[in-house]
Symmetry: C2
Subunit: 311 residues, 2 copies
């Protein structure tokens, strides 16, 4: 694990990349946002933490500028940009048969999509609870604590898994090797598939959404559909535990004051990740013959709003 | 049919009431909006048509001021105000065992609710295709053509039905006695249950809604649920015909440029009629064991938005 690339170096990619760089690894940031890439190269990456602001020298490139092969590529683009990013990296020989591809993206189905490029033995799936913000091009905001869990996409352990874990833990990213990463991926996707589209459609914070006395009557059928689809795909989830997790986000002291990231995407004129959340659930449902009307409806409503808000 | 009251004399009540008054009947407008009632009594009802603007002298009262008994009470309040209005009229002896109560309100279930006050032999249900606008208190805007169909709530014909029909046709309201008014009520409610909440949630005109390439995938499941519930209640609807009717509203030359009335209600800070449309369908569905997830979801989303927009 000598040469590491962060493919998609926005807020989260910036956090993961800068922490690994600070642990002494050879890290390259790859991003499609030209102004961001240029600022990082000209001024360094400005990092603001709870206690400090400092500048980290770290190289950044546009995808088509990549001209080396990496041992590990951590994918943190938006879900809908991953395909284009990986195609460019593959064409530029940044990925070969020894490269580990690790997806840390939100949403469902990334393992299957990546397996069109490399075998599943080269693919790793991660879920992170870290957060991060971008205050502008080249300006990272890092607050709070988090964790990572990950596993090879075929569920098997190998020596490379251990080495990736070493990288993460050298970088103080609080990682662990999962024995059931799909459960964690689906759990996080459930939270995102409930609160993201609802708060976006309603233009409400998480707490504002929760104030409706029948909020649970909206949430439970969504969870029920997701649990049924996950079950049919061999992932066992607890509807009650997921409801608890979602409701734990409601208080203002928890996530209540926040708009989910999908809200920020839409109202800033960007496409959302709906097709990798509720849209993917509905797609699995159709394949499996499981009705997912609630997830279908939210997917359509978000697409309707994208037509209105995305420039 | 000597003494006729219009209970709820907004735009549509104003149209029906003024046309009957102009046909020579004794008509009283009853409305809860004090400024509207006062303006009508002080200045008359100002009526603007495509070709003319004139003033009609017509008496108006607040509900608690009613002190006479009517032969016919035409109910055109918002659905959620009907109960209070009728309770006040009943307490003031405006309604007795000879009074015909005719509901011309949008939405479902009005016949059953009215039957808590008078027997179904006294109840008439009407559907109108007339439209009307209110430009301000006491100021009516009457454009276009329309029609009315109506029937006694128990489906039986009687001599009073004929007399009400005579009143409507004297008033040039283009009425006919229906042999299946429930089919017409459910058909209109279906249109309203699809386009009203969707355009309101999305803050889109009917045409803007229709531009989404999968608009039909939103509309068809809603219609499917409504048709199933109606069928179980003995009302036979054609899903294909309803889809045609809805899609016929999309062009700008049809209804495309308009926001449905629910949109106007919500964004003007008023409660919507959702509980008498999708909410009533979902309620029937629960009673009948028919799943109506799409109608449930839209009902909840509108209630969430009411919490945000209603003052």
């Amino acid at each position: 694990m000598k040469k590491i690339a962060i493919a998609g170096a926005g807020a989260m990619g910036g956090r993961i990349g800068s922490q690994i760089k600070e642990a002494g690894y050879d890290v390259k940031l790859i991003d499609m946002w030209e102004e961001h890439v240029n600022t990082i190269n000209e001024k360094g990456l400005e990092i603001q933490t709870e206690t400090d602001t400092y500048t980290l020298e770290i190289p950044a490139v546009l995808p088509h500028q990549v001209n080396e092969t990496f041992d590990l590529v951590i994918i943190l683009t938006k879900s809908m940009q991953a395909k284009q990013m990986l195609r460019t990296l593959y064409d530029n020989k940044a990925i070969n048969e020894d490269t580990a591809l690790l997806s840390m993206m939100n949403g469902l189905g990334h393992g299957d999509r990546l397996s069109a490029i490399v075998p599943k033995t080269q693919i790793f799936l991660a879920v992170t609870m870290w957060t991060a913000g971008l205050r502008g091009p080249g300006q990272l905001l890092l607050e709070g604590q988090g964790s990572i869990e990950f596993q090879r996409a075929d569920g098997q352990a190998d020596e490379r898994t251990e080495r990736i874990n070493q990288v993460f833990n050298d970088a103080k990213l609080n990682a662990k090797i999962s024995d059931n990463v799909f459960k964690s991926i689906w759990s996080k996707a459930t939270l995102n598939s409930v609160l993201n589209p609802l708060c976006t459609i309603l233009d409400k914070t998480i707490n504002e959404f929760s104030q409706y006395e029948k909020a649970r009557d909206i949430v439970e059928p969504l969870i029920g559909e997701i649990v049924a689809v996950a079950e049919a795909r061999g992932v066992s989830l607890s509807a009650a535990a997921l409801l608890d997790k979602i409701e734990a986000a409601y208080p203002n002291e928890a996530q209540g004051l926040h708009y989910p990231s999908m809200h920020q995407d839409l109202y800033n004129g960007r496409y959302t990740e709906i097709d990798y959340l509720n849209g993917q659930i509905a797609k699995y449902g159709r394949e499996l013959g499981i009705a997912t009307p609630n997830n279908e409806m939210l997917t359509h409503l978000i697409h309707e709003l994208e037509m209105k808000h995305v420039k």
